[in-house]
């Protein structure tokens, strides 16, 4: 029974840890499917996290915080668009620049506004997203097997967690069942075909980037307002890059993206769980090794186990009408 409880706990933290990855991964999916590489997911999450926590602590409202996180993140997405769509700049350079601006400006503004060494003030209960308890969760807790699964795994997460998982089928539906999705996929494969069909390539790509900004904003808000009770400098800690890896791993497909992010989240959860616990045969493993495990496995998985990942064909290339 202990083992069962341990498994439920690991899976529960798997869900919590994979949510920011999943949101960022879906964010990247929108822009990359539209042919805009976005290495700036990390930076957009970071500004989202900062803006969310700052606004929540100033206005004492979690929802205002979320709104601000989305707003600022979308603004950064539009900067990326302005550089790489309107001015046809290099998308990688623009994305890296956004990451640097995000890392620097959040610390600087945080210190200037709150004088806590780049942190935002700890958020109170009304300023964070609390857990949503599903009906009957407490009553069923005692039921063996199903009880813990229902009350721990399914119930008791923040609203943003459910939002992230609802975003998966929603994204699939948008991409493959709507006119907007058809055009978005087309512009990532052959923008000239979209242009000659009488659709604006730039406007379409901007709209894709706005979707990206909304999702990275939510991801950032999740980090600073759910997982943590406030903003801490560099709190994204490479999650934007792991999300990009998951996106490639998922071959730019929404449902695959969910499983990829859950896998990375699971590895992360496992490494936390196994810290300091002696393993059979191997014995006690240093903490650092366990922390490195998800990244090592990422490299191995990306190198050998996903087969051929074909990115959208027009990805990374600014659209210029042929002369």
């Amino acid at each position: 029974m202990d083992l069962f409880n341990a498994i439920v706990q690991v899976l529960d933290s798997t869900i919590r840890l994979s949510v920011p990855l999943l949101l960022a991964c879906l964010a990247g999916l929108y822009s990359e499917r539209a042919g805009v590489f976005d290495i700036g997911l990390e930076g957009k999450m970071l500004v989202g996290a900062f803006a969310g926590a700052a606004a929540a602590s100033v206005f004492h409202s979690a929802y205002l915080g979320l709104g601000m996180a989305i707003l600022i993140s979308v603004a950064f997405a539009l900067i990326h668009g302005f550089a790489s769509i309107t001015h046809r700049g290099n998308q990688i350079v623009s994305g890296v620049a956004i990451n640097f601006i995000a890392a620097g400006s959040t610390i600087m503004l945080g210190q200037a506004w709150f004088q806590q060494g780049g942190r935002t003030p700890a958020l109170g209960s009304g300023e964070r997203f609390g857990a949503v308890i599903w009906p009957g969760a407490d009553a069923l807790r005692g039921v063996p097997i199903l009880g813990p699964i229902y009350s721990e795994l399914i119930s008791g997460h923040s609203v943003l967690v459910y939002l992230a998982f609802v975003a998966v089928p929603f994204t699939w539906w948008v991409l493959f069942r709507t006119r907007f999705g058809l055009r978005l996929r087309a512009v990532g494969e052959n923008p000239a075909a979209v242009d000659t069909a009488g659709i604006s390539v730039a406007w379409l790509r901007y709209r894709a980037l706005i979707c990206t900004g909304v999702l990275t904003g939510i991801a950032g808000a999740y980090l600073s307002m759910v997982q943590n009770g406030g903003f801490v400098k560099d709190m994204t800690a490479g999650k934007g890059y792991i999300a990009l890896a998951a996106l490639i791993f998922a071959k730019w497909k929404p449902v695959n993206a969910m499983f990829a992010c859950l896998l990375f989240g699971f590895l992360d959860a496992l490494s936390i769980r196994l810290q300091g616990t002696p393993l059979p045969l191997i014995g006690k493993v240093p903490v650092q090794f366990m922390q490195a495990l998800p990244y090592v496995l990422t490299v191995i998985l990306l190198a050998g186990f996903i087969g051929k990942a074909i990115p959208p064909r027009a990805g990374g290339v600014p659209y210029v009408k042929e002369r």
Binding site: R177, L182, R185, E189, N190, A193, D195, T196, A197
Partner: protein, 510 residues
């Protein structure tokens, strides 16, 4: 009096210093097939892109159906009933036919309804025009001929009354081209207006009612097709009389330079594509390999030039074997006097992002002449490049210009100049004039014959029968990976055509 579907009045368009269209006037009559011919870079595609709203004219007026029209985007053109089939297809390769057809013209925000509507509409278009294509097929799995059909369907689905086709047969096999022409005639019978842009005069004569000729951005003449000749059109295109057949003396063939024996090549799927081929090329002769594209010529060329593995057989260059394992060092073969002008100059012959002078020494860049210690001798490279630009009349005459900015014909001349100027003993040329305009064809043919007269062994592979007949001292015909016949230059087109179609071969097998 027939009504004008389109009238262009005083159209001007410049790209920087280049005047692509100068003061163009053109009237296209409703319900006809109107051809527009001209050399590469004469401004045909620019003019049609203006009509389709892809570019804006600097000045001038467009009238559609008698009314002045303002065409600022492809959307405006589509609304006026103008559809375009681009030279490079504007299709999303991993979408289905239906998805491509509705893209940008979806009837509903949800795809299900749009696709259902398009499906029934496509069935109607198929019936009316004989444009059969599986609506659920993925584009990249379709042959080019069918992909082009999808482009036509796209235009018709948007209600096009006027259909512009830009170089539609460049990528088609002769059979596919014939089918396309039947479709175009059908469209004309149904009252549609067709504008056909091409540089192939034979097509103009075969299918158009009226033909307009463009030269260097201006419209030089409009003729009724029945009342003109290929010779007159060719002359109008280049502005002087061209030799459609290059004059040459008798070949004085010497010793065997290149000997191919029992060469067999398989493709990546293990299918035999070159089947037990043997032939010689002697010094001072041009051997031409004729055949419909895709009968093993490309693979044979690659095997002989050492870049594709051969399963069996041998190739001797000056009596010494060439490594046929696919691992041959092309540099070593060059040193041994084998020069190769590849079929696909964009992917194999040139680095398009390089400057002209860099491409003009590619592969010969470690020649001591181009080196100064471990560094490139840039001055020597550019001097040579400038010499060749003058000698081969490469335009524009700027060795610092990016190679991508040269026209197809001039790019081909860059490759030819590079290979010929190394004074090789054996020259192998694939498709010497693919995508090259009339003036440059004549020039290239003369250079090839000059090589022959200097005693070089020249092997030419081309899908253009005229070219093979005009150049070759001996003609070998390839069909299904085999050489099915050898003829002299006096062979008739019909005779060679039967061989190329494999007719005689099949009869012999029975």
């Amino acid at each position: 009096m027939a009504q004008a579907a389109i009238e262009l009045i005083g159209i001007n368009k410049s790209f920087g210093a280049v005047r692509a269209n100068r003061d163009i006037n053109l009237e296209i009559v409703r319900g006809t097939i109107h051809g527009i011919v001209g050399e590469n870079g004469a401004g045909k595609s620019t003019l049609m892109s203006i009509l389709y709203g892809f570019y804006q004219a600097d000045s001038g007026e467009i009238h559609v159906g008698g009314q002045p029209a303002s065409i600022k985007s492809p959307n405006d053109a589509i609304a006026l009933g103008i559809g375009m089939v681009h030279q490079h297809f504007m299709l999303v390769d991993n979408f289905t036919v239906l998805e491509n057809v509705i893209l940008g013209a979806e009837s509903d925000a949800l795809l299900k309804k749009s696709i259902a509507k398009a499906r029934s509409e496509l069935e109607r278009l198929e019936r009316e025009y004989g444009l059969e294509v599986d609506p659920d097929a993925i584009i990249e799995e379709l042959p080019v001929g069918l992909q082009q059909r999808v482009e036509i369907l796209k235009a018709l689905y948007r209600g096009a009354e006027i259909l512009i086709l830009d170089e539609p047969t460049g990528v088609l096999t002769p059979a596919e081209a014939d089918h396309l022409f039947r479709i175009l005639k059908q469209l004309k019978e149904q009252g549609k207006t067709v504008v056909l842009i091409t540089h192939k005069l034979r097509e103009i004569m075969a299918i158009t009612d009226t033909v307009s000729v463009m030269r260097q951005g201006t419209m030089v003449a409009t003729r009724e097709t029945k009342k003109t000749t290929v010779g007159e059109l060719a002359e109008l295109m280049v502005g002087r009389r061209v030799l459609l057949r290059v004059e040459k003396g008798e070949a004085e063939a010497g010793g065997v330079k290149l000997a191919v024996k029992n060469l067999t090549v398989k493709d990546s799927r293990g299918v035999t594509v070159v089947d037990d081929i043997s032939f010689d090329v002697r010094a001072g002769e041009i051997v031409g390999i004729a055949g419909v594209a895709g009968n093993g010529q490309s693979e044979m060329l690659e095997a002989i030039s050492g870049i594709r593995r051969a399963v069996s057989g041998s190739v001797m260059l000056d009596g010494k074997p060439i490594d046929l394992t696919g691992a041959a060092d092309p540099g070593e073969l060059r040193d041994r006097g084998l020069a190769h002008v590849p079929e696909d100059r964009h992917h194999v012959g040139l680095v398009l992002a390089f400057e002209e002078n860099e491409n003009s020494i590619l592969g010969y860049h470690d020649h001591p002449r181009y080196l100064r210690g471990p560094f490139l001798n840039v001055d020597a490279i550019r001097d040579d490049a400038r010499d060749r630009i003058a000698k081969y009349d490469i335009r524009p005459a700027d060795c610092r210009l990016k190679t991508a900015n040269f026209s197809g014909g001039n790019q081909q001349k860059i490759v030819l100049a590079r290979e010929m100027e190394q004074d090789p003993g054996v020259l192998i040329v694939g498709q010497p004039t693919r995508g090259v305009d009339v003036g440059a064809i004549e020039f290239i043919h003369k250079r090839l014959i000059a090589m022959r007269d200097q005693g070089k062994a020249v092997l030419v592979v081309s899908v253009e029968l005229d070219e093979i007949r005009s150049l070759s001292d001996r003609i070998l015909v390839m069909f299904a990976g085999r050489i099915v016949g050898e003829r002299g230059p006096e062979a008739t087109e019909g005779e060679l055509g039967l061989l190329m179609a494999g007719v005689e071969h099949q009869e012999a097998a029975q």
